[in-house]
Symmetry: C2
Subunit: 309 residues, 2 copies
């Protein structure tokens, strides 16, 4: 039986995750989600990437905004602004419920793995997603003006600061989520979704034990860079600031020996056969559900053609 | 110049407080509010009595519900219920903003006195209200089934448990709010609003230093019991369970030597002149704004006729 591990960050990764969930039954795939973007905001424990995948798999995601929950209202935020409160993080009324409930459960002693399972089950999601770990890890963005919390960089400052590097605070004390550890023992293949390599995927890879576990498994990645541009988010801008080429080839190089296969978009077909890992060329831009399922199927098919480890 | 201190709990007290605020300019009155009912809920610091007085003085109170904020929506709560979260405490979307903002400010190191001033000012309230203290005090209700947090008794269990007594957790470490201490030095008279004597007013009186300060001042109370019934809330029920008569006379006896004057409702006119403190009879049931102002004026007039301390 296939046991596919999909590593994902936010919106881009969640699109492919949805495709995988449409093909694979719940016992054949596990989604492991970056929690380096998590933060505490006004007393609430917020997990942006888990939330994005939750809303996506529950078919509750807001496709107009590209983030958050469908049919959202903003009454709390309006009143918060009237009080002079912090309103840079756009908390919708419905979305707030998830943060409040998670916060309450964590305070009652549940782990993030447990709370995530409870919430996704309640929302009718039959597939399993887990945080990369249950311990707090916080992605710190090193920028010109000094180190900053990821959400301050990403949401408050809209990715404007030029980055010079990243680190994952708390990563040394992080332990792979127990559900993830158990899955890795039977895993047959790993898909790195087209999420930001530096902040989303690297955070997951940095959890002690993760790289060693993956080194024994076939790993493929889908390039988040297509034709020299990021489909979504600051990946290409970051690469320019880090003074590396903003190319799919550079993403493959970034993952290095970890990769057995690399999925290129049609726009980057010229790179086919030119990279260290095996490559496949397909449409990676996911506009429709059919695109998501198509790319997921390409990934699954790709494993078949890879040389055995 | 008059310097009137008004001691208040929730809805009943807030009605008289509004009347006082309509008569007295901001420098002639200070509202000190019970915080024994405060609690932490899903990561939020909630101060029900401060919130009630805030919404009342800001003319934002929900008169249909009798609590909370006008024009409220419940989208977050609906989603919270769908997640199987705690929904016994009815958090409105607009109301949530106040809790979130307070929580953020307290976590940033502000005192409850400071946060309360910031919020009330932002909402256009020119009068000053202060928490009885900045330290956490929690009213514990002793009930048949054991001790319980006040909001569990009051909201979750709708005052159903029979009470045997109360205590105020943390009261020994409580210090009078600094603004309150300063005001007490110049105070010319104290009005105990018609709030629950056992939980709302006693909590304020239990803050170390409060009773000693009041013993030097003319103090009048407005009976929260009229014709043997509580105008609002569980006061009469509590008195029955505590095996004392649910009468205005008993409320006066409860406050004991603290009182110089006691304001009786017309329905209890037979008690006039029959109690230890001086009494005055007036309409104490506040339905309209005119009722609130009328009762406030009666209280202020009452001070004039009291023997000097």
């Amino acid at each position: 039986m296939r046991k596919i591990l999909a590593i994902t960050g936010g919106v881009g990764g969640a699109k492919l995750a949805l495709g995988l969930a449409k093909i694979l039954p719940p016992d054949e795939v596990l989604f492991v989600v970056n929690t380096g973007d998590d933060f505490e905001h006004m007393g609430l424990n917020i997990c942006p990437d888990i939330d994005t995948l939750t809303y996506t798999l529950a078919d509750l995601n807001n496709t107009e905004l590209g983030w958050g929950r469908r049919g959202e209202t903003w009454n709390c935020l309006d009143s918060l602004e009237a009080l002079g409160g912090e309103s840079w993080f756009r908390l919708g009324d419905h979305d707030l419920a998830l943060h409040l409930h998670r916060t309450a459960r964590l305070r009652a002693g549940a782990t993030l793995t447990e709370v995530t399972r409870e919430i996704t089950t309640k929302l009718g999601i039959t597939h399993t997603m887990v945080p990369m770990c249950d311990q707090p890890v916080r992605t710190i963005v090193h920028a010109e003006q000094g180190p900053m919390a990821f959400q301050h960089y990403f949401v408050r400052d809209r990715c404007a600061p030029a980055v010079t590097g990243f680190h994952f605070e708390g990563i040394d004390a992080a332990k792979l989520s127990p559900v993830l550890s158990a899955f890795l023992a039977e895993c047959t293949g790993v898909v790195i979704c087209p999420s930001n390599p530096f902040v989303s995927v690297d955070a997951v890879l940095a959890v002690p034990g993760m790289r060693a576990a993956l080194s024994r498994l076939p790993v493929i990645a889908v390039s988040p860079i297509v034709g020299g541009k990021a489909i979504k988010g600051p990946t290409a801008k970051m690469m320019q600031e880090l003074k590396v080429p903003a190319t799919a080839a550079q993403v493959a190089a970034h993952y290095g020996d970890l990769l057995d296969g690399f999925v290129l978009d049609e726009q980057d077909a010229a790179l086919h056969g030119q990279l260290r890992p095996a490559t496949v060329v397909t449409r990676t831009i996911m506009v429709t559900l059919k695109d998501r399922i198509g790319l997921a199927q390409s990934c699954l098919d790709f494993f078949e053609g890879l040389p055995r480890r």
